[in-house]
Amino acid sequence: MHQLTTSNKILVYLLLAIVLIVFMTPIYIIVSSSIKPTPIMFQKPPAMLFEPTWDHYINLFTARPFGKFILNSLIVALGSTAFSLFFGSLAAYAISRIRHKRMNDVAFWILSMRMFPPIAVVVPYYIIFKASGLLDTPLALIIIYSTANIPLTVWLMKGFFDEVPRALEEAASIDGYNLLQIFWYVTLPLAAPGLAVSAVFCFIFSWNEFIFALMLTGSNAQTATVAVMSFWSSDAVQWGRIMAGSFIILIPGVIFVLTCQRWLVRGLTMGSVK
């Protein structure tokens, strides 16, 4: 765009190096601290070369049933993803194909779900779930996360469905297929990348979520994000375990970024930037 002279190029790389250091250092800290023996964890200058230890990871899983909590996170994330994908893509298809002036309102209403502060809904949820005995179960979280995941899926899938040419559906219709068949055999396969993207986004959101998980679960359905916080009590902060747990929690996010980079823009800006 703006052509650069050699001195300009050096400046760009220099600035970029600074930016990368700033943004990558905390990640490095998580990774390195998780295998750093506790005594040298806060050493100054920071210990860069050291004998790594797996104690933190071991303790993480033995001091608490962290494995169970990871499993909970997984169950909730996968469950909410499946739920949201199913209902969300159906709704998205309808919104994409129906030409009716009310459709914009419906779409906007669905989008507006995103705008509610979660904490505002925690209170009633807490009471409702307590009353119905759903407190501290994975199902509770799956239901709640759908409030965020379904709108996201709808918004993403609508965009993908819009891009499937109507001519293909019309051709199938002339060949004698009914709407459901067209949806299943023609449209959905062509919008499959959208499903993949939506699935990833739903998973990541559910996996990373904290506040609802904290409020609505106890020892049974606790998720990994809540569990990692439990190593911080009024007596002591067990940094090793916190870092180990943090590392595990951030893995899906990193994998996601590295593999789905192409679709990130579209998903996170709800399609407003392509």
Partner: protein, 295 residues
């Protein structure tokens, strides 16, 4: 569409119903219940005290309280701090990263990681950096001749501590969207400007920026909505403290509902914050429409 006849339209509605029902159930129903709560004194601390209808008492208490006003101030102050820095930094880094130089693709990908990490983890690692006496941030800053700062324990710096962590996490979001918008721009006008000899600043301010302005507005809008709801990072770093210097709206609701167990008040506060956000969004869209008509 030729094949969408009345009968098909009904099938479409059937497609949509489940999602609508679920959303309805998970949002409208709790909202109604919360509304019900907000008009009652619902003190869970006192289990066997009847939940009495108290009319507008909860709302009055909130609106009149200086604490709530302070909460709003803190929330908007934090929003202003984080959004402004994220915008400038995000656009700046996007300009860097869209240069046609080797290695930019990798840099761009790596820089996306912070925003995909759970906010709790972000909070925890910054807690590590901020930790009184032990944290590394002050150590690093000392090389620049700055500090030391009592990040999360001082009333002067606590809000900044949160802002910095939030900026660290979300600047990549602005960068990502801006970079995408920049690469979508047609390169020819930039060549014409180069040929005509327009200065780099002129080109950025008068050619690049105006063209990406709509995208920037979208991005900032999304960020503003999220910033209004900020919670996880604060919970980890300061829990609203020290005192109430970092008590944002969500922390206030949390405190009322789960520290004092006054759920009625918590519910009322939730509604007030909902109204605020709806008003803000409406104002925002109105001003957008006005601009669109003027253009």
């Amino acid at each position: 569409m030729a094949y969408i006849r009345k009968r098909n339209r009904n099938i479409f509605l059937v497609f949509m119903m489940p999602a609508v029902l679920v959303l309805f159930g998970t949002t409208i129903y709790p909202m109604i219940y919360a509304g019900y709560l907000s008009f009652r004194s619902y003190d869970l601390a006192k289990l066997f005290v009847p939940r009495v209808f108290v009319g507008w008492a909860n709302y009055q208490e909130i609106i009149a309280s200086s604490e709530f006003l302070h909460t709003l101030t803190v929330t908007f102050k934090l929003m202003a701090m984080t959004l402004s820095v994220q915008l400038v930094l995000g656009v700046g880094i996007a300009l860097l990263v869209t240069q046609r130089l080797p290695g930019m693709g990798i840099a761009r990908t790596l820089l996306l990681i912070p925003m995909m990490i759970s906010p709790v983890i972000v909070g925890l690692v910054w807690l590590f950096l901020y930790f009184p006496e032990l944290g590394y941030l002050n150590y690093f800053l000392s090389f620049l001749g700055l500090g030391p700062y009592a990040w999360i324990t001082s009333t002067d710096w606590a809000l900044w501590a949160i802002a910095i962590a939030d900026i660290w996490q979300w600047t990549p979001f602005i960068m990502m969207g801006t970079a995408a918008a920049l690469t979508n721009l047609s390169p020819e006008p930039f060549e014409a400007a180069k040929l005509d000899g327009n200065s780099a600043w002129d080109v950025f301010w008068r050619v690049t920026l105006p063209q990406i302005r709509p995208v920037l507005i979208s991005l900032m809008f999304l960020r503003a909505i999220d910033a209004f709801k900020i919670y996880d990072i604060i919970f980890v770093l300061t829990k609203g403290g020290p005192g109430d210097t970092t008590e944002v709206l969500s922390m206030y609701i949390y405190r009322q509902s789960f520290t004092f167990w006054r759920m009625g008040v918590g519910a009322a506060a939730s509604f007030v914050s909902l109204i605020i956000i709806v008003v803000l969004i409406t104002l925002f869209f109105k001003s957008l429409n006005r601009e669109a008509h003027q253009a």
